[in-house]
């Protein structure tokens, strides 16, 4: 079976074969012998690639697999040939139009809201103060516009990615 993996801006076509109890991967004309071993009670895999030893913890983000190890941190997008074929037929979803949303780039507690609906802001205008782990951070407008809506109140706890303010 063929798999397509994308790491950063590089794409790789990987053919996975098994034989004699071993797994081989062919990439760019080179063949690697891969021995993958799950370590119970952790999220870690020990991997031997032609004898070179690596250890990675794995986070499964659906199509995006995150690998963390001493050798670095990678996000790999992966699909197999069937999935890719199926996807090629479907049309890409259209870009969402509408108001611009300012989201939280970190989890935190809203300490202060500095703007009100209807207020005009410049790029860089502080919108609110978010605190986490003893640090206060100003959240600023990333474009000029008018405040349509403020989603949070002082004292609220927000997750990373939560909608804070909508600008039109």
């Amino acid at each position: 079976m063929k798999y397509f993996a994308q790491v950063g801006d590089k794409r790789f076509e990987c053919a996975v074969e098994t034989g004699n109890g071993s797994t081989f991967v062919r990439v760019d004309g080179r063949r690697y012998r891969v021995d993958l071993e799950h370590i119970a009670a952790t999220d870690a895999y020990s991997v031997l690639v032609d004898g070179l030893s690596y250890e990675f913890a794995l986070h499964d983000g659906g199509e995006c697999i995150e690998l963390t190890g001493a050798a670095g941190h990678f996000e790999v997008l992966v699909e197999d040939e069937r999935t890719r074929a199926a996807r090629a037929v479907a049309a890409p979803p259209e870009m969402q139009a509408g108001p611009h949303r300012v989201s939280s780039m970190m989890p935190g507690i809203v300490r202060e809201v500095l703007v009100q609906p209807g207020q005009e802001v410049q790029k860089g205008t502080p919108l609110l103060i978010l605190e986490a782990m003893k640090m206060q951070n100003e959240i600023r407008a990333d474009r000029p516009g008018t405040v349509e809506r403020v989603h949070v109140q002082p004292g609220a706890t927000v997750e990373k990615g939560a909608a804070l303010v909508e600008l039109s």
């Binding site: 690697y32 993958l36 913890a57 197999d80 935190g108 782990m133 706890t157």
Partner: protein, 505 residues
């Protein structure tokens, strides 16, 4: 006086650090915990533990009344404040003493004199310790603000008079930013430290941050235990510290050490403390501030001097004489500490929260770990982002660096991003290895996109992650097929679990 049972008015790694020494000394330990901290290691490691309120520090770890209530209930005879929280709060030290307990630290009066930046500055000037040009500005006094800024010359730093540990500090480079920054600094200071006063000070160009460990007993003996180089900072928070400093020669060390002892004596210091200096490009040094508590980076001094500073704190607080004179103290080898934080350096050190899914801390020769991490731990946004400290000792600076690199390669914190990749890149950086660092070094280093570039492997380079993921994906597919046949099929994570079972064969 003897100490039999100590309340630790803190949490995290420093609470654990204090509990360890108490246990070694055969002294009882009493931990306190907020609702967010019931499962933390300091609660599990102490002899006793009592709840003190909701997660927000202002409602728990900063509640003097509740802390004293626990101390009374548990029958403590002393309080160790750790660092942060109430550790440099003179009123707390006074309240502890008023309750008839020993405060493991200097007197309330010393804390007040050292903690008030302005008064400390005057005291140090009088004691002949060099200080940086600057002055205090009360809340809302714009005229004084402008005058002070003019006297220092831009750029200046705005520092909360009641703050410490790098908190509540802002830099102003442009005249137009001055007033807005002042107001924000002032309101932050009011909220965090209960005092809106702000201090304006000349910002030295590319200085080095070098501090001296001080230890004093109640019998008039004061010694220093050499310096710690703490120039590697971001947002005025230290990230890496080492001793000895690659900058200092014996002559400068002796002069600064004498100034540090003079500074401590000037405020009647007792216990363990730290005198911080800035050293400019010309090798001139200025008193920066005094930290009247155990310092985060105290382990590097312990490793090079072969002492336990927390034990000495407790012994001195109980009235013991220092067991050594200045001439007995000699540093051996080199020690470096890095602070492991739940922060994403690639995203401007934004804090990261989450659950520690798996954990392997480094061990082995020359490596010390002081950390409150445990598998299953929830890292919440209520407290400091520091997860612990990895510390290495080596016969030489190069050996210490190599040991620390090895330790970081060995460590696995799975489940949330940490600054570990940055720490490793820093330790491997040529400029760092030369010892050529100042307080601006880290911020420029982080901007260099090179540091986060994944390393190269044998002949594998970039295809390694692709190869791994393909095999993993193939395993999963097989596992999923098998799971469906055996009636356990499902979407999402199921095929991952199946893949694992498969890989387990």
């Amino acid at each position: 006086m003897s100490i039999e049972k100590v309340l630790i008015a803190n949490r995290g790694e420093i609470a654990l650090r204090v509990i360890r020494t108490l246990r070694e000394m055969g002294i009882g330990s009493v931990a306190v915990f907020s609702e967010a901290d019931r499962r933390e290691l300091h609660v599990r490691a102490a002899d006793e533990a009592y709840p003190i309120g909701p997660p927000a520090p202002a409602e728990s770890y900063l509640c003097v009344d509740r802390l004293l209530e626990v101390a009374a209930k548990a029958g403590c005879d002393a309080v160790h404040p750790g660092y942060g929280f109430l550790s440099e709060n003179a009123a707390f030290a006074q309240a502890v003493e008023d309750a008839g307990l020993i405060f493991i630290g200097p007197s309330a009066r010393t804390i007040a004199r050292a903690g008030d930046k302005l008064q400390a500055r005057k005291t140090m000037e009088a004691a002949g310790v060099p200080v940086i040009p600057g002055g205090e500005v009360p809340e809302g006094d714009r005229k004084r603000l402008q005058a002070a800024a003019k006297a220092c010359g831009l750029p200046v730093m705005l520092k909360a008079v009641g703050g410490g540990g790098g908190r509540g500090i802002r830099v102003v480079r442009e005249p137009g930013e001055l007033e807005a920054s002042f107001e924000r600094a002032s309101s932050e200071a009011a909220e965090a430290f209960g005092n809106p006063a702000v201090y304006v000070e000349r910002l030295l160009q590319s200085p080095r941050h070098i501090e001296f460990q001080i230890l004093a007993d109640q019998h008039g003996n004061t010694v220093h235990m050499g310096e710690r180089e703490c120039s590697i900072q971001r947002r005025h928070q230290k990230l890496l510290e080492e001793t000895p400093s690659p900058l200092l020669d014996d002559s400068l060390r002796e002069r600064m050490g004498a100034a540090a002892v003079a500074a401590a004596k000037a405020v009647d210091y007792r216990g363990a403390g730290t005198v911080e200096f800035l050293v400019d490009a010309q090798g001139e040094f200025f008193f920066l501030e005094m930290n009247t508590r155990i310092q985060v980076e105290h382990p590097i001094t312990e490793l090079c001097y072969g002492v336990d500073l927390v034990r000495l704190q407790i012994e001195v607080a109980a009235g013991a004489k220092l067991p050594f004179a200045q001439s007995d103290l000699r540093s051996k080898g080199h020690a470096i500490e890095v602070r492991l934080t739940a922060e994403d350096p690639e995203a401007g050190f934004l804090p990261v929260t989450g659950r520690v899914r798996a954990l392997r801390l480094p061990q082995g020769p020359g490596v010390r770990v002081d950390s409150h991490l445990f598998p299953g731990q929830e890292i919440s946004l209520h407290y400091d982002s520091m997860l612990g400290k990895i510390i290495a000792w080596g016969g030489t600076r190069d050996e210490a660096i190599d040991k620390l690199c090895r330790a970081l390669v060995e460590m696995r914190v799975v489940g949330l991003k940490t600054c570990a990749p940055l720490l490793l890149a820093l330790l491997r950086d040529e400029r760092f290895r030369r010892g050529d660092v100042d307080t601006t070094y880290l911020e420029s280093f982080v901007k260099d996109p090179q540091w986060s570039r994944p390393p190269q492997y044998g002949g594998l380079a970039a295809e390694l992650p692709a190869v791994l993921t393909a095999v993993l994906y193939a395993h999963r597919r097989q596992g999923a097929a098998r799971a469906v046949r055996s009636g356990h099929g499902g979407g999402g994570r199921r095929w991952l679990d199946a893949g694992r079972r498969d890989a387990l064969r």
